[in-house]
């Protein structure tokens, strides 16, 4: 059963997602000040949360990997970074569209925009190091992920010292119940999809690791 859990999650996500899209576009009232562009909120916010969560998971898994030299933690860190990278890309693409409709320009250099962009750059650097780094790249990448997880709040605070135009967390928190009700199915579908893909990717990485080990054992036996 555990083996099929990621597939079950992906199937559940595939079932919920069309319902979520239909609800967002057909049943949710149009927001008064931002208009139709506000629909982006239902995709942008969950992807932003997931990107942050994946960066945190990557940092924690990297810490465990460095401490215990765990192959599973290494696979979790890489899978989380890959998914965080994709979610971050989604946030950085949908954010400027929403920003252009709301603030009149796609990029304002706001604290959250900058911190998300830099987090995405750190995740990209992590993936580049994991794929193209030297022989000790896993340890280097793990340190990078830990620094990245620590850096994000610092970056956020640093940019906030300048200026912020982004909606505050209170604005998101004070949404009418109808809008919240439309956010949950989409968020649920994205979380299930993320966990399912993560499960598959972790399994794939562990199998690749086992194959590498088998190759080394074979090379040793041949002398």
């Amino acid at each position: 059963m555990r083996r099929f859990l990621p597939d079950v999650m992906l199937l559940a996500a595939a079932a919920i997602f069309p319902y979520s899209v239909a609800r967002i576009f057909l049943d949710t009232p149009i927001e008064r000040t931002m208009g139709t562009a506000f629909k982006i909120f239902f995709f942008h916010v969950p992807m932003g949360w997931l990107c942050m969560l994946m960066a945190l998971v990557c940092g924690i898994a990297a810490g465990i990997e460095l401490r215990r030299r765990s192959t599973t933690a290494s696979a979790v860190a890489l899978a989380a970074a890959e998914i965080g990278f994709v979610c971050g890309l989604g946030v950085l693409l949908t954010g400027p569209i929403w920003g252009n409709a709301t603030w009149g320009k796609p990029w304002t250099g706001d604290a959250r925009q900058m911190s998300t962009a830099l987090l995405w750059l750190i995740l990209a650097a992590y993936l580049l190091i994991r794929h193209y780094g030297p022989e000790n790249s896993r340890r280097l990448a793990a340190a990078l992920a830990i620094f990245g997880a620590v850096d994000v709040p610092i970056i956020y605070y640093a940019v906030k010292l300048w200026k912020t135009t982004h909606p505050t967390t209170e604005v998101v928190g004070s949404l009418p119940p109808a809008l919240w009700a439309s956010l949950w199915p989409g968020l649920g579908a994205l979380v299930l999809c993320t966990l399912g893909l993560m499960g598959i990717r972790i399994r794939q990485l562990l199998i690749a690791e086992e194959l590498d080990d088998a190759w080394v054992r074979l090379a040793d036996r041949r002398g």
């Binding site: 830099l118 022989e135 790249s137 340890r139 793990a142 340190a143 850096d151 640093a158 080394v216």
Partner: protein, 242 residues
């Protein structure tokens, strides 16, 4: 005390090596002059109101680029003769290696800023407060460079123990040092604008430095001295770096 003595011994060795040729100091100082010339050519004619924003950017971008060059060169010397590996097997605390390397990189970076700051005051008249408040500027530069060096030393050392690929240092260093550089930018701009809360920024920079130095020192040994299994696997694996 033992750690301090080891740091001092390693630092003296580093300084002795540097004094023989002044290679890193001279190249970093010259590169600082090149950066100054480029900023003077590209931004020298902008109005004074824009200079307040441009001068801090020019200073900390130059520090970022000079820092990358310095850290690469400091560890290239170790790589060329494979002495970092020798140092790691020597009966020396790894923390002492980290702090000695960070100290020499910091020293070179501070010499480079000694060229950069007066140069920027000449290029951008709006940067005059940096000359008018030398103590504040010195504290700002030292705190800014400490954070940068704390991150840079860890990753430059990590790449030096690998096989080549130190071109990746820029990939790692610039996204990770952005928070330090941002704090530095904010503090420098506060100085140029004679902001009443400018002194408080120094405290925040010191706090960020403490976090980064602590993390760098904590991660130095795990990053440099990993398990033999992963290296053996990587060496035996065809066509893959990791």
């Amino acid at each position: 005390m033992r750690l301090l003595r080891q740091i001092r011994l390693l630092l003296v060795a580093e300084l002795r090596q540097e004094i023989r040729s002044f290679e890193v100091v001279l190249t970093s100082a010259f590169f600082s002059l090149v950066m100054l010339a480029l900023f003077a050519l590209s931004l020298g004619a902008i109005p004074a109101s824009a200079q307040v924003a441009a001068a801090p950017g020019a200073l900390w971008l130059s520090v970022a680029f000079v820092g990358g060059l310095t850290l690469t060169r400091v560890f290239d010397r170790e790589r060329e003769s494979d002495t970092l590996r020798a140092l790691l097997v020597a009966p020396v605390d790894r923390l002492a290696i980290y702090f000695a390397k960070a100290a020499i990189a910091l020293l070179v970076l501070l010499i480079a800023t000694a060229v950069l700051v007066p140069g920027l005051v000449v290029v951008f008249p709006a940067a005059a407060p940096m000359a008018e408040r030398p103590l504040f500027t010195a504290a700002l530069v030292v705190l800014g460079c400490v954070g940068y060096v704390a991150v840079g030393t860890l990753f430059a050392a990590g790449l030096a123990t690998g096989s080549g690929k130190n071109v990746l240092l820029s990939l790692i260093l610039h996204p990770l040092t952005t928070p330090v550089l941002m704090f530095n930018l904010v503090a420098t701009r506060a100085l140029l604008e004679a902001h009443p809360g400018a002194d408080a920024y120094l405290g925040r920079m010191a706090a960020v430095d403490v976090i980064l130095v602590g993390l760098g020192a904590w991660l130095f040994e795990p990053v440099l001295v990993g398990g033999g299994g992963s290296q053996r696997r990587a060496a035996a694996r065809p066509g893959r770096g990791a």
